[in-house]
């Protein structure tokens, strides 16, 4: 009992070191735990897989680089998947880091032969948040007279025949925020929307899925790992899954230990907290 109580008072810096080790070790020598594909991911995969060569899709980048480890693997997998199917991708940015992220993610595909302005385009960032999203959804070439590199959008091959967001075959957004903004502004255009979400905000998108305002959801690093599995192309996300497992176990153990120590303290009347209720 005394031991458990003492364990509750460990210097948090030891916990930080422990967390790094728990994440690092399975990454250095992978365990290779199998992962199951959830219904969310397989549904979203099926939708994206049904796209045909020549279809045009929006990728809206609504995250900052700090949230990237959890969201970006989804985008990486989708670029691979859709480019391999010959789908064309129009990239826009809801947040200002977007254009730089798009440049980075498309670089390997340019080297592999994808042509800028034909197979994909980086339209860049517009200030103004939700209002800007509403503006370009209603009239894309008015909101974006030029792309990120200063090319005229009205003559660009990839944007021929596209005026509003309804002219796209699918709309995919990636965000470290909640899905609400895109549901509010894009859902009215009757284009299938797929959300690539940071794990934190996924539960809040659940009602939109049930009401079919969102067509599919891909959630966080785990969602990306499942997507990689469906594509048969394990990448960064799959590599992180063992580490994810171990870190979860550690944090669960922390919560259990912490609570045990708390209840022991409380039973001895040592805890200041909890006395309130």
């Amino acid at each position: 009992m005394e031991l458990i109580r003492k364990l509750g008072e460990v210097d948090p810096r030891w916990l930080y070191v422990l967390l790094v080790l728990v994440v690092l070790i399975p990454m250095v020598s992978p365990i290779g735990l199998p992962i199951n594909v959830s219904a969310y991911t397989s549904n979203a995969f099926a939708l994206l897989d049904s796209l045909k060569p020549g279809d045009t899709v929006v990728f809206d980048f609504g995250y900052y680089v700090d949230g990237a480890p959890d969201v970006e693997p989804i985008a990486v997998a989708l670029f691979d998947h859709l480019f391999s199917k010959g789908v064309r991708i129009v990239c826009v940015s809801y947040k200002n880091h977007g254009p730089m992220i798009v440049d980075k993610l498309t670089e390997p595909h340019v080297k592999a032969g994808k042509e800028y302005g034909v197979d994909f385009v980086n339209l860049g960032f517009l200030a103004g948040g939700e209002t800007a999203l509403a503006a370009w959804a209603a009239d894309i070439k008015k909101a974006y007279p030029t792309d990120w590199k200063g090319n005229n959008t009205s003559t660009m091959p990839i944007l021929q025949g596209i005026n509003t967001v309804a002219d796209f075959d699918m709309f995919v957004f990636y965000t470290d925020d909640s899905a609400e903004v895109w549901v509010r502004q894009i859902s009215q255009y009757k284009v299938p929307i797929i959300g690539g979400l940071i794990t934190v905000t996924a539960p809040q998108a659940e009602p939109f899925l049930q009401s079919k305002q969102l067509a599919g959801l891909l959630v966080g690093l785990r969602g990306a790992a499942e997507y990689e599995k469906l594509m048969n192309k394990p990448g960064t996300a799959s590599a992180g899954m063992d580490a994810q497992s171990m870190a979860h176990l550690m944090l669960i153990a922390f919560i259990l230990f912490g609570n045990a120590s708390y209840f022991i303290k409380r039973s001895k009347g040592l805890a200041g907290k909890g006395a309130a209720k």
């Binding site: 480890p69 609400e180 009215q188 994810q244």
Partner: protein, 201 residues
């Protein structure tokens, strides 16, 4: 070991930032200020680029004179820097942004987050799940009734609502922790993979 200078600088920045976890120190403060400065400079560049494509080129190349109005409004944001007598100038551009924003919020929230949600909750009460969904939504909503007389029924229903809310928070809590773990994985993979190549890529 990586030979890329970007990776090396990035690794030093990462270690400097993390050093705060052990103790507030000079390296952390230096990194913090460099970062805040760079982020501000980045935002200025993005703003400049936006003005170039949305205001300057349409005005000069295509003669869209109407663009002058938002440009003037934009400049009015800076009025207060030229003395408190000009502090009123900022209200007009703010009014435009806030007014349009408020209008857009009302018009889309009412459909996407209200009527469509109401319609999707009108489920046939023939399965346990449907009953739970309908009852759960109603109970949660009644937790946010603030001004009605607290009858025993209302208090009871809103107490149920509080339980539903706590389970909802539990789901969010689990997800939040998962998401945060991914961030650590990202940094560990950068430091030990990209930088010192301990993790095989």
């Amino acid at each position: 070991m990586s030979t890329s200078i970007v990776t090396w600088v990035g690794a030093l920045v990462t270690i400097g930032a993390f050093s705060y976890l052990f103790k507030e120190n000079v390296m952390y403060r230096t990194i913090e200020h460099i970062y805040v400065g760079a982020a501000a400079g980045y935002v200025i560049s993005v703003g400049y680029q936006n003005l170039l494509t949305k205001a300057w080129r349409p005005l000069v190349n295509e003669g869209h004179w109407l663009v002058i109005i938002p440009v003037l409004l934009g400049l009015m944001l800076f009025g207060p820097y030229f003395g408190s007598k000009l502090s009123w100038t900022r209200r007009y551009p703010l009014s435009l942004i806030i007014g349009v924003g408020a209008g857009i919020t009302i018009r889309s929230a009412v459909i996407e987050q209200l009527t469509k949600q109401l319609a999707s909750t009108a489920l046939p009460l023939k399965t346990i799940n449907n009953v739970l969904i309908v009852a759960g939504v109603l109970a949660t909503l009644s937790y946010f009734f603030f001004t009605f007389k607290p009858t025993r029924t209302l208090t009871g229903v809103s107490e149920v609502g509080k339980w539903v809310i706590m389970i909802t928070f539990g789901a969010a809590f689990g997800n939040a922790i998962m998401g945060r773990v991914s961030l650590v994985i990202g940094r560990v993979s950068f430091l030990f993979g990209e930088w010192i190549h301990l993790i095989k890529q």
